[in-house]
Amino acid sequence: MNFNFFVLPFTIGFFIIIVVLGVRFTRWIWKLSKIDKLRILHGFFTRRTLRAIREAWNESLLHKNIFKVNPFLGFMHMSLAFGWFLIIVVGHIEMYALTGNLTAMPWESVFFRYFEHTTSHAHAIFAHIMDTLLLLVLGGVGLALYKRVNMKFFGIRRNTQLRVSDKVALYSLWAIFPMRLLAESATAGFYMNGGWLTNNIGHVFQLVNLNSNGELIFWWIYSISLGAFFVVLPFSRYMHIPTEVLYIFLKEYGIKLKREYNSFSEIQVYSCSRCGICIEACQMHHAKISNNQSVYILKNIRDENITERKIYNCLLCGRCETLCPVNLKLNDLRITLRINASKDFNSTYDFLEQPHNTEHAEVVYFAGCMSHLSPSIISAVETILKTTKTPYLFIDKEKGVCCGRPLMLAGQQKAALKLINHNRESIIQSGAQTLITSCPICYKTFKEDYELGQMRILHHSEYIHELLTNKSLKISKSTQKYIYHDPCELGRGSDVYEEPRFILSQTGTLKTIENERQKSLCCGGSLGDVSLSMQERNRITHQTLLQLTKPNPDCIVTACPLCKKTFAKQKKVPVKDIAEIVVECM
C-alpha cells in the first residue's frame, strides 16, 4: 500500500462527506410519504432508472440546459463537472490497468502519480489523457474566475451573496485543480512520468531547482484543498451537486410536490445550484424588485429567513421555471409556502347553497369572473356557439362562483377546495361532455384540480380551433397584422400554444417576436402576486407592451380576459381577445 501523511486531509474529508451525505439522503427518503417510498421501490427496477441515469448524465454532468441559455456558462459548468468526473473515472482505470491492484485505498488513485514513477508506453498514453482532462477542468476554473469579474459575459445579471461556508468551498474548489497541476508537474520534473503538460512544467521546475520538499508542499496543498472542499460541501451551496442527482431520480420515479412543504420540497431547495438564470428571466426587476427571485427564495428557505412579503411578491408567471436548468417546480414550491403561511385563516363559504341544476346540456360554458369584467369576450364566444348551432348552458351567467384558482394562488387551499367542490358539483349535474371556458386561470384549475373524469375541458381558443378544423365554422382572411400574447396560465401553465396561432393565421397575418411561447412575458396583471402595487404592475406592463408593439401590429391579440384588461390601459394599439377576432372575420 502506498502511503504518505499528506493523503490524510483528503481521506478524512472524503469519509466525512460520505457519512454526512449518507445521513442526509437517508433522512430525506425516510421522511417521504409511504406512497412515495413505494414509488421508489416499484420504479427502481424499471426503465425509469435508466431514464434518470440519462438525465443525470445530461444535466448533472454535461449541463445541456445551461448550454441552451448561455454557451459560456454551459461550458464552465460542463468542464468542471464532466471534466472532474472523467478525471476520477480515467484515474481509476489508469490505476487498475497499470498496477492491477483492485483493492487500492481511495487516495491511491487520486495521488497516483506521486506513488507511481514508471514510464512505459501505457503509462505515457494515460498521462497524456489525464493532462488533457486536467486542462479541460482548468479551462472551467478559468471561466469561473472570469465570471467573478464579468458576469454579464455569461448572461447573468446578479447572483446571490456567499456565506462563509460557500466562500471556503469556492476557494478550495478553485485551488484543487491548479494545485493538482503543480503537484503532478513537480513529480514529473523528477521522474518524467507526466504527460505533455505536466512534463513540460516539470522541466521548468527542474530549471528553478525545486527540491523534493517543494514537491511535497504542492501535494499537501492539493490534498488539503480537496479535503476542505469535501468537508464544507454539505454545508455550502455545492450541496446541490449530490442533491440534484437524488432529485432527478425521485422525480423520474413519479414523486411530485405536494400541497405542503415536505422532504421532497427540501430536496428541491437543496438542488438549486444558484446559477442565477432565474434572476435574468424574472420581470420583477422592471418594478425595481430585485431581492425576491426564485434563487433568493430558495436561499432564504435554506437560511431560514423568509418573510411573508417575499413569499407573496411573485407573479407566478413561470418564466423562471421553464428556464431552470434543474427543472425545479418553483411555482408549486412557492404556493406550498403560501399555503403554510395562510393556513390559519381560510374561509368556509357557508353561504354557498347546494347547487341544483335543472338544465342539462352537452356543452357547458364557464366564462369566469374576469370574462364578466370584459363582456365583449363573452358575447363573442356566445355568437360563435350560436352560429355553429351548439346547444350550450352558460353556467355562471348570473350567480357565478369563482373557480378557486385565485385563492389557490394566494395559498388559501382549504377555501379554494370549497369553491372547487361547489362548481364541480354543478358542472357534473349538468351532464355535460364538454366544458368551455374563456379564462386561462379557470382553465388551468379545471384541468388540474377539478377531477372531472372523462369531460373534455377546452379553452375557447381550442374550441374554435376544433370548429375550424372540422369545417363547422368558416372565416375569411383579413389584411390585419396581429401579434399574439401568450397568457401565462394558458401557455406555460397549460401548454396551449399552437391553437391560437393557427386561428390567427386563418384570420390575418401573425407577426412573431423574440419572447413568445415558453419565453412569453407576463402582462403584469397576474393574480399570482398578492403584494405588488398598481404602479409596479404598470411598469411591468409597460415593458411587455414595448416588446409586443415592436413589429407594429394592427392589433394585440390575447386569449385571457385579465391580460386584455391589463393591456387595455394603453390607448395606442387596440387589444382584443381571440374570440372577438374570429367573430369579426365570420
Binding site: 395562510s342 364578466h372 394566494a410
Partner: protein, 113 residues
C-alpha cells in the same frame, strides 16, 4: 305611532378614542394604497361575492375605522379573492392584499373588540 313604511336605525354612540387601531395601522403599513380609498364603490359594484351575498367591500373600509371587528370577521369570509375589484379600482388599490391583510390581522393581532 304612525307607520311611515320605512324604518330607521337605532341611534348609537361611537367613541373613536376607544377604537382599537391595530388593524387599520397594520393594513396601511403593509398596503399603503388602502389609505387612498375614496369609497366610490366600484369594487362592490363588480364583486363576484356581492352577486351572491350582501358582501360589501366598500363598507369594510368604514367598518375597520369604526372598530366593528365582529362584523368584519363574518363579512370577510365571503370574499373569493377573484381580483375583479382590483382591476376596476380608480385609485389602483391592491384590494386582494387588503383582504389578505384583514384576514391575517384578525387572526394574528390581538384586537380589542
Amino acid at each position: 305611532m304612525n307607520k311611515f313604511g320605512f324604518s330607521t336605525h337605532a341611534s348609537r354612540v361611537i367613541d373613536y378614542e376607544t377604537i382599537d387601531t391595530k388593524l387599520i395601522s397594520y393594513i396601511v403599513e403593509n398596503e399603503p394604497s388602502f389609505a387612498s380609498c375614496i369609497s366610490c364603490g366600484s369594487c362592490t359594484a363588480t364583486c363576484s361575492a356581492a352577486n351572491l351575498t350582501y358582501f360589501n367591500i366598500r363598507r369594510l373600509n368604514v367598518q375597520i375605522r369604526l372598530g366593528e371587528f365582529e362584523e368584519i370577521q363574518q363579512e370577510i369570509d365571503k370574499c373569493m379573492l377573484c381580483g375583479k375589484c382590483m382591476l376596476v379600482c380608480p385609485r389602483g388599490i391592491n384590494t386582494r392584499n387588503v383582504i389578505m391583510l384583514i384576514k391575517r390581522g384578525l387572526t394574528t393581532l390581538e384586537i380589542k373588540k
